[in-house]
Symmetry: C2
Subunit: 212 residues, 2 copies
């Protein structure tokens, strides 16, 4: 049997990943402002200088932590799958919502940091402005394609629907974090899409909140 040899991470890559995991955990617990680079170093069992060897500062760590999940999502929605039929992309989006229900810590980090980052002087402000602009644009393309292929075609404003869909997904996260048993984020998004007449052909997934 031949198998591709898996990439074995170098010591440097493992250290980098450990720093990012520590940063994600501490930012998630206390927010960006209340965590110092020294806290992150201590949590990762490194010296301050050891962290600085891999990342120039706290801001770059934050952007890297946020970017790590966004890059995974972007690949699902827009990357190699970009030519997939729009209904598959919509299913990928719903899959992301379901996956988030298994990672409350990371969801809490996004909710907290996106709240902080609405302030124009926050280090992640530009990142979030750009993130929403790109997401609105790409989701509008998916909605537009789905509306056109519906029979009869739907006359939604795709940009408006994309904005609503993103807002719904964000707002559900706050309610879900506050009271997990009262909110099924995935079911709510599916219901929203079906109310719009958009075809969502997806089975009810098992609720992964048991891990929360």
């Amino acid at each position: 049997m031949t198998a591709q040899t898996p990439h074995r991470p170098s010591k440097g890559e493992r250290t980098r990943a450990r720093i990012l995991d520590s940063a994600a955990e501490l930012f998630s617990r206390s927010g960006f402002a209340a965590v110092s680079l020294r806290d992150i170093a201590a949590h990762a069992e490194l010296t301050h200088a050891g962290v600085l060897h891999h990342f120039p500062g706290k801001e770059s760590l934050l952007i890297e932590v946020l970017g790590r999940r966004d890059r995974i999502d972007a690949k699902l929605l827009f990357g190699t799958n970009a030519d997939a039929p729009p209904e598959e992309l919509l299913e990928a989006l719903i899959g992301i919502v379901a996956r988030n229900m298994g990672t409350p810590g990371l969801v809490a980090l996004y909710v907290k940091i996106s709240g902080e980052a609405t302030a124009p002087d926050h280090p992640a402000h530009a990142y979030f402005v750009d993130r929403y602009r790109v997401l609105r644009e790409r989701l509008a393309e998916i909605v537009s394609a789905l509306s056109a292929q519906a029979d009869p075609p739907l006359d939604h404003d795709p940009v408006a629907v994309a904005q609503q869909l993103l807002a719904l997904m964000d707002g559900l996260q706050t309610q879900w974090l506050l009271e997990p048993d009262a909110v099924d984020m995935r079911a709510s998004v599916v219901t929203f899409l079906r109310q719009l007449g958009l075809h969502v052909d997806t089975p009810q997934a098992p609720d992964p909140r048991g891990t929360a």
Copy 2:
């Protein structure tokens, strides 16, 4: 001519209001964790002891700042108007969204603190859990009444719609704060309600974002 003499606030009431204004401004700018009671005292031009005379601590100030706006909204939606026709209550809700577009600082405070408060050990956690529970319940009653009086009656799940509506309103705030020109919160909420088949009889209000 007789007119009711307006209540003239006492010196204590004026000081209390000044402390609350300072707290709202500083929390709104920097988040709850990064602001000290001494910062608030300095901003209100009082001593630390002067602030403590009116409020036992920073937590009570936060709850009071949040509660001030929520009490105004609750009165509009559920207070003396509670017996009003449901379409009037829906209009009151849309009016609140429109009003929020004129108070970006207070909206930013809510977005930031609700994000922080998803953490179970945050001093406003219980406040927000309760806030969403009550809002979901009361909005579900309005949606239920509106669905029943539609012709033909709509068969929405009122609790699910209430949850979506709150999530939409919250999520729009984040996008609006990040890029005000790209998001009309009021129009988006009206569109959402109309997509559900709910009757919204409200003129397009002038966009108050000029004051932002």
